[in-house]
Each structure stands twice: as structure tokens, then as C-alpha cells.
Amino acid sequence: MQPLIDALIFIVDDDASVREALAWLLRSRRLVSEHFASAEAFEQRLAEEPLADQPHCLLLDVRMPGTSGLVLFDRLAERGLLDVMPVIFLTGHADVPTAVDAVKRGAFDFCEKPFSDNALVDRIEHALGASLRAIEAQRARRLLMHRVEELTEREREVMRRVVEGLPNKLIAEQLSISVRTVEVHRARVFEKMEVKSAVELANLLRGL
């Protein structure tokens, strides 16, 4: 029973039987999970060990003694972790309005107990997909930033004007350099940013 997907799922619920049952269910779908009895325990885990570079998902019970699920959710939102670690609320029937409200405020989804089939796991997989995408987007942005950082000062000035769509001649005038030099810089920018055209470059930088 090997974990299929390289992902980590956190379960926070005060009821041990629910935690264990969920973990077992996830394992049956080859998913790795860690479970915590309270929000405080989970926050401690986060503090001790930062999130690895893999998809995450948090299954969070709304009603718990001590810090409630909603409060924990708000703190995670403050730290900007909702993208890489989507939150799925586990609710009792009574808490549905609360959960709906939470979804409006950025939770990935909620699931009403008792959950009978694999729908929950499907939702988790969706969430993991979202998490993966978020991680990849983060990674791409970091790469791009890295590339931009490798440009010289002059190359960056030229690139800015290229993206704005100015012709070489005008760029040369503005920077008081010859058109030939502009062309050299431009070629080097394209090379360093691994693009083939100005349009491609503009698209790439738009995400930044």
C-alpha cells in the first residue's frame, strides 16, 4: 500500500476515531496524511517544520474545544498559506452556514459529516491539484525572478522598453546609445530570459 502521490494531507479534528478513520481512508487511496487533535498542535507542527515543496491539503473540523477551526483558518489566511495548502472544512450539519461563509472567505470547500463515499477524497485530490498548481506557479515565478536578477542594469532598462513596445530606434534615443547597441542588449535579454520574441517576453513578465 504505497502512497501514490507525493503529497501530504493534514487532518485536524478533536475526535480521534474520525481522525484515524480518515487517515485510513486516505491511505486506501494511497495518500499520506498527518493528523492532529487540536489547532494548537497543528500550529506547533507548522512552526517546527516548514512546508515541503509538495502539494498539501488541510482537513479542518469547524467545532473544536480551544481554538476553533475558523480561527485557525483565519490565521492561515493571514500567513498566505491558503494557496499552497487549500483548506477543506469538515462540518456537522449545524455548522453548514458557518462553513459556507468560510468558503466565501477563501476556504477551498467544505464537507458535511458523515461523509459516506469517496467524494471527500475526490475533493482532496482536487485540492491537491490546486496546491500543486500553486506550488508550480510559485516555482515558475521564482525562476523568472532569478532570470531577471541575472540581467545587467542596462539590459533591464532595455527590456522594460521592449516590453512597452518601443522600437529600437526610440530606445536608443532615450538611452542615448546607438541602435546597434540596443540590438545587442535585446538579443542578450532574449537569450537570458529564454524567449524568442518580444511578445513572449511580455507574456512571461505579466505574471510577475
Partner: protein, 690 residues
């Protein structure tokens, strides 16, 4: 206009004042004039009568005195005449030297007023003389010589008249001291001689005037000019009223006056029965007048007091809101006060003298009232604490009254009827009804909320194991599928059974959900309610308990609060629960200042920090807080405070706070509590504003 009125007003006022004073004076004058007049007349009558009586008495005394005096004068005169005749008779047989002295001595013994009898010849030479035996010898012979002028005068007059004549009175001094006033009587005798008798004036008065006259009066001889010669009788005349009467006694040869002085003392004022009677009657009259005046004054005062008392009683009867009604022993209404008239809507004229059925008796209850009246007339005593009844207004509406009855006893201690006080208790009834209705409504909603909370708790507790069951079932199925169908039909059977388990778990979840839905159907009834209205709904019940526990309630609402979007009944329940908890927390024997503060204010959602407001939540919130100054909440209790079925009270179910939190969370709000400084606890919860 104002100028005119301001100038005329004082004048009018002063005129009025003067007029009032005049009227007062006139009435006082009218009242006192008759009395003064009467008193003056009585006094005048009294004085007149007394004066007239006095004068009458004086006149009578004077008249009697005059009469006495006249009698005395005539007595004197006749006495003197008789004496003269006696003297003449002594010489009738002729005078001779031998017999005359004997005869003269006999005469002198007979007439004590005479001092001496002399026999003189025509030339007035004494021939013989005899002195009275009753006195020491007054005269010596030498002083009685021829030229004795008084004797000469008398004898001259006697000779001229040929009848006895008298000399004027003259004084005969005694040798050592004193003297006598004497008068000579000269009687010419046949043969040219004279008999001279010397009268002592004093003895004359004593002998010849009736002794009754000299008793209590003074009788005196005076000269014509008033010079007193001799006097006899009582001389006590100091401080007494003197009556004087004098009369001339004309004697041949001389004239003397007889003067009688009588006097009367103190008894003069009531000299007779008439005066006494009149005086007594007058005194009685005055006394009666005084008594009458006093009686009138007392009567006036009593009248005024009575009028005051009547006015006071009338004002009292008119001012009470209790309806008063008096009935005689026949059941007729003899008196009603304005409050009673206002209560039943009938005028006093319509109510008075109604025998039998009173107009305010509801027709359907009249027979019962008649029975009650009959029992009362038969002597039944109404209950002291009063009884409830129903009256009918003029417009036909019925209203409940509380009636107190008491027997009406007159001054002779006889019962003349019944006095009853009626109080309209319809308003009281309405309030009781209202309070009961609101209490019932809250109790019903409390029951419903409790059931809901139970269901909610059950569902929560059951969903956890059900979720576990479902998870295990799904996981098992996953594993069975992963292992493939190699094992054949046995695995298929197991897979089917596990699927059934999952289905049954799902069904159980559905059942719970449907029960939950049924109980929580009203969850969706959200309405906009003013915070004030929420508080107003629970405050009567809260105050009821507050009064029992001696707690003061303070309510503070921020101005211009928005309405809260909530299920009114449930939120009222939450407020009531929190308020009751707070008051019970303050039920400590040594706590004097018991205050429960209810506050409503605008707020962020509870639990949000101000530094990092959640932009996603743009709703506005209302924060309700219930703060007590009670015993506070210990740490261990705080940890389990919202746990269902946890309670610190022996009779508590342990659902109150749990329910409160559920309700608040259903509204999207939160319920928290924190200790209050210096003591006590404050519970806050939020509700979304409309």
C-alpha cells in the same frame, strides 16, 4: 389694552378689597349690632329701674321724716301749751307765800323740763323761787334779779299779749364749766305779778318729743339762721346719707326751729322687693344673654367646623379612585361617589334609589347577585378580604371589580345599610394576562430551543462515529478494489457488505439530518429586530427575578443602533439565559452591591483583532454584553463551560450556555466570556446587523 388693564387692575383690586372689607364690616355689624343694642337697653333699663327705685325710697324717707317732724312740732307746741296751762292752774286759787312754794315744788316734780319757777311782782322783783329737784341748783339768786333781760323781754311780751310768752333762748353758764341753753316762760298772774318758768331746751326735747323720733335720728333746736342750740338723739352720721327736715315753731315772744336729721346706710340700694326683683331679673337676663351669645358663638364655630369637615370629606370622596357605594337595608343605593359613577358610566341620579336590580349588574349574572344581596340582607357577613365580581358599564362592557363591604352604622349604633368600596381590576387583569402570555411564549421557545439543542448535540455526537464508520467502509472498498477481483466471489460478497455498511451509515446520517432539519426549521426565520425590542421582551422576566434576588438592572444602548438580523425568539432566549446566569452568580450572601449591566453596542465580530481586521467580512455587527459582579468563573469551570450537560447547579441541565453558543453561532456570531474587573464575568455575543 395691556396698559389699560395694568392701570385699571390695581384700582379694581383695591376697590374689591375695600368692598370686601366693607362687606365683612357690615356683616360683623349686623351680627353684633343687635347684641350691643340689647345689652345697652338692658343696662339702661337696669340703671333706670335702680335709680327710680332709689329715688322713690328717698322720697318716702323724706316724706316720713317731714311727717315725723310735723308731728314733733305739734307735740311740742301742745306740750308747751299744756305746761303753760299747768302753771296758770297752780295760781288759780290765788298766790300766797305759804302755799306757793309747795305748789311750785309739786309742779317742778311733775315737769322735768322746767329748771325753776319764780314768782315776781309787777316790777319783776322776785317774790319767791323754787328750783327743780332733779338737778343741782343752776341759778343763784343774784343772777335772777330784776334786770334779768330775758325774763324782762318775756314778761313784757306776756303783759302785752295778756297771755304766756317766751323769751328767746339764752345760755346759762355753770361756774366751773359748761352751761345750759334755757328759755323763759312768763305768765302774767292776776294781781300784777308774774310766774316765770325756766325751760331747759334740752330737757324740753327729751320730755316733749316722742322718744321714737329721737331713736336713730337727731332732733335739734336751732335758731332761724341754723345755729344749733341743743340736740338729742343718735349722732352717728359719718358715711351715711342724711335726710333733713326742719320746721319753724312759732311761740309767743320767740321763734325756734326744730330740725330732724335722719340717715340711711348701705341697705338703701335694695330698699324693697321690687328693686331686688327687677335687679335679679336683670342679672338673670344679662346672664342669659351672655350664655346665649356664648352658645351662638359655639354653634357658629361648630357649624363652620362641620362645613369644613363636610368639604374635606367631599374632596376626599371625589379624589379617591375607589368606587364607593352605600346601600340601605332594602338594597337601595343611597350614595355613590364620582369614582363609582365614572367606573360604571352611569350618573348618580340613574343609580340612586334603585331597588332590586342595579343598572350595572350584568344581565346574565343578575340572579347570582340577587342571591348574594338576599344573603347580605339576611345578615350574612361579607368576607373581610373582599370578593371579586363583575360589573357592567352603561355601554354593556363587563369589567372585573374587587369589592370590600362593611356594615353602615349610624350614630345610634344601629345598622342602616352597607358601604362597599369597589376597585376596577381590569387593568391589573390585563397586565397579569400579558405577563403570563409572554412568560408562556418564552417558556415554549425555551423548550423548543432545548429540544433543538439536544438534537443538535445528538447529531454532532452521532455524526462523528458515523463519519468514522463511513470512512472505514469507503477505505475498505478502496482496498478491495485495489486488491482486484482475484479472490473471486468472496471478496465480492465482502465488498457488497462493506458497501451496505457505508449505505447504512449514510442513511443514519440522513435520519439525523432530517430530525435536525425538523427541529431547526425555524432557523431560517431571520427578521430585523431593534435591539431595544429584544431587551424589552426579556426585561419583565429578568426584573421579576432581579427583585427576588435584590439585583439592580442597568441597561445601556448606544444611540442609533441598527437592527439585528436574527431569530427573535432564540436570541431572547440567549439574553434571558445569560441574564439569569449572571444574577445567580451574584446570589452570594455577602454581596451587597448587585448590578447586572446589559449593553448593546456596534462592534466587530468577536475574536477579531483590531490590528488585522478581516477584509473579507464586511458585515456590520452588534455586540450584546451581559455583565455581572458575581463570583466569576474558575479556570476548570471555564474549560468545560460550553460542554453540553456540564453544570455547576444541582438542578441545572447543563444545556443553557451550550444552547446560547449554538444559537449565536447559527447567526454567524460568536459567544465569548471574560472576567470583569474588579470582579464578576462579562458574556459578549455578536449578531449581524440588518
Amino acid at each position: 389694552m395691556t396698559a389699560v388693564s395694568s392701570t385699571t387692575l390695581p384700582a379694581t383690586r383695591s376697590f374689591r378689597r375695600t368692598f370686601a372689607r366693607l362687606r365683612f364690616l357690615r356683616s360683623a355689624w349686623q351680627r353684633w349690632f343687635l347684641w350691643v343694642l340689647l345689652a345697652v337697653l338692658v343696662l339702661a333699663l337696669l340703671v333706670t329701674v335702680v335709680w327710680l327705685a332709689g329715688r322713690h325710697e328717698v322720697e318716702q324717707v323724706q316724706t316720713a321724716l317731714d311727717r315725723d317732724t310735723a308731728d314733733a312740732v305739734s307735740d311740742l307746741r301742745s306740750g308747751l301749751q299744756r305746761n303753760a296751762q299747768s302753771l296758770r292752774a297752780s295760781q288759780a286759787a290765788g298766790l300766797d307765800r305759804e302755799h306757793w312754794p309747795l305748789e311750785a315744788a309739786a309742779l317742778l316734780r311733775e315737769h322735768r323740763e322746767w329748771l325753776r319757777i319764780e314768782w315776781r311782782d309787777a316790777a319783776l322783783r322776785p317774790l319767791g323761787a323754787v328750783d327743780t329737784p332733779y338737778r343741782r341748783r343752776v341759778f343763784d339768786e343774784s343772777s335772777r334779779s330784776v334786770d334779768q333781760s330775758d325774763v324782762a323781754l318775756a314778761c313784757a311780751a306776756a303783759r302785752k299779749l295778756g297771755a304766756p310768752a317766751y323769751s328767746p333762748s339764752h345760755y346759762v353758764p355753770f361756774v366751773p364749766s359748761g352751761g345750759l341753753e334755757v328759755m323763759e316762760l312768763c305768765l302774767p298772774v292776776d294781781g300784777g305779778g308774774y310766774l316765770v318758768a325756766t325751760y331747759s331746751l334740752r330737757d324740753t326735747l327729751i320730755e316733749l318729743v316722742a322718744p321714737t323720733l329721737t331713736r336713730g335720728q337727731e332732733v335739734a333746736f336751732t335758731e332761724a339762721d341754723g345755729t344749733r342750740l341743743v340736740a338729742v338723739g343718735a349722732a352717728r352720721r359719718v358715711g351715711t346719707r342724711v335726710f333733713t327736715s326742719q320746721q319753724l315753731i312759732d311761740l309767743p315772744g320767740t321763734t325756734v326751729m326744730l330740725r330732724v336729721d335722719g340717715w340711711r346706710g348701705a341697705p338703701d340700694l335694695f330698699p324693697n322687693l321690687l328693686t331686688a326683683l327687677v335687679t335679679a331679673i336683670s342679672i338673670a337676663l344679662v346672664s342669659v344673654l351672655v350664655l346665649l351669645a356664648r352658645d351662638t358663638r359655639r354653634r357658629l364655630r361648630a357649624e363652620r367646623d362641620l362645613a369644613d369637615a363636610l368639604a374635606f370629606r367631599k374632596a376626599m370622596e371625589d379624589s379617591v379612585i375607589t368606587g364607593l357605594r352605600a346601600r340601605d337595608l332594602q338594597g337601595r343605593i343611597t350614595y355613590v361617589n364620582p369614582a363609582f359613577c365614572a367606573m360604571v358610566g352611569f350618573s348618580a341620579e340613574e343609580l340612586l334609589d334603585h331597588a332590586g336590580e342595579a343598572p350595572y349588574w350584568p344581565t346574565e349574572l343578575a340572579h347570582e347577585y340577587r342571591r348574594r344581596q338576599a344573603a347580605r340582607l339576611a345578615g350574612g357577613v361579607p368576607p373581610r378580604e373582599g370578593y371579586e365580581s363583575v360589573f357592567m358599564r352603561k355601554d354593556g362592557t363587563r369589567f372585573p371589580v374587587l369589592i370590600f363591604e362593611a356594615p353602615l352604622i349610624n350614630a345610634q349604633r344601629a345598622q342602616t345599610g352597607w358601604m362597599s368600596a369597589s376597585i376596577d381590576i381590569s387593568e391589573q387583569r390585563r397586565i397579569e394576562e400579558l405577563s403570563r402570555a409572554s412568560q408562556e411564549r418564552l417558556q415554549a421557545s425555551a423548550r423548543l430551543a432545548t429540544v433543538g439543542e439536544m438534537a443538535s448535540l445528538l447529531s454532532h455526537e452521532l455524526t462523528q462515529p458515523l463519519a468514522a464508520i463511513a470512512s472505514y467502509a469507503s477505505g475498505s472498498l478502496n482496498l478491495l478494489q485495489g486488491a482486484g477481483q482475484a479472490q473471486g466471489s468472496a471478496a465480492g460478497e465482502v465488498a457488497m457488505a462493506v458497501r451496505r455498511i457505508a449505505e447504512q451509515a449514510d442513511r443514519a446520517g440522513q435520519v439525523i439530518r432530517s430530525v435536525h432539519d425538523f427541529v431547526r426549521r425555524r432557523d431560517r426565520t431571520r427578521e430585523a429586530v431593534a435591539p431595544q425590542a429584544l431587551l424589552d421582551a426579556v426585561l419583565p422576566l429578568v426584573r421579576l427575578q432581579a427583585r427576588k434576588l435584590g439585583v439592580r438592572i442597568e441597561v445601556a444602548l448606544e444611540d442609533h443602533l441598527p437592527q439585528a438580523l436574527c431569530d427573535r425568539t432564540l436570541v431572547e432566549q440567549v439574553l434571558l439565559n445569560l441574564a439569569r446566569n449572571g444574577m445567580q452568580a451574584m446570589d452570594l450572601p455577602d454581596l451587597n452591591e448587585r448590578v447586572l449591566r446589559l449593553r448593546v453596542a456596534r462592534a466587530r465580530a468577536v475574536g477579531e483583532s483590531n490590528e488585522a481586521p478581516d477584509k473579507a467580512d464586511v458585515r456590520r455587527w452588534l455586540e450584546f454584553s451581559v455583565a455581572d459582579v458575581g463570583c466569576g468563573i474558575s479556570e476548570e469551570v471555564a474549560a468545560r463551560l460550553f460542554t453540553p450537560f456540564f453544570t455547576t447547579r444541582p438542578d441545572g441541565m447543563g444545556l443553557g450556555l451550550s444552547l446560547c453558543r449554538t444559537v449565536v453561532e447559527q447567526h454567524g456570531g460568536a459567544l465569548i466570556f471574560e472576567p470583569q474587573r474588579p470582579r464578576g464575568t462579562v458574556f459578549r455575543f455578536t449578531l449581524p446587523a440588518a
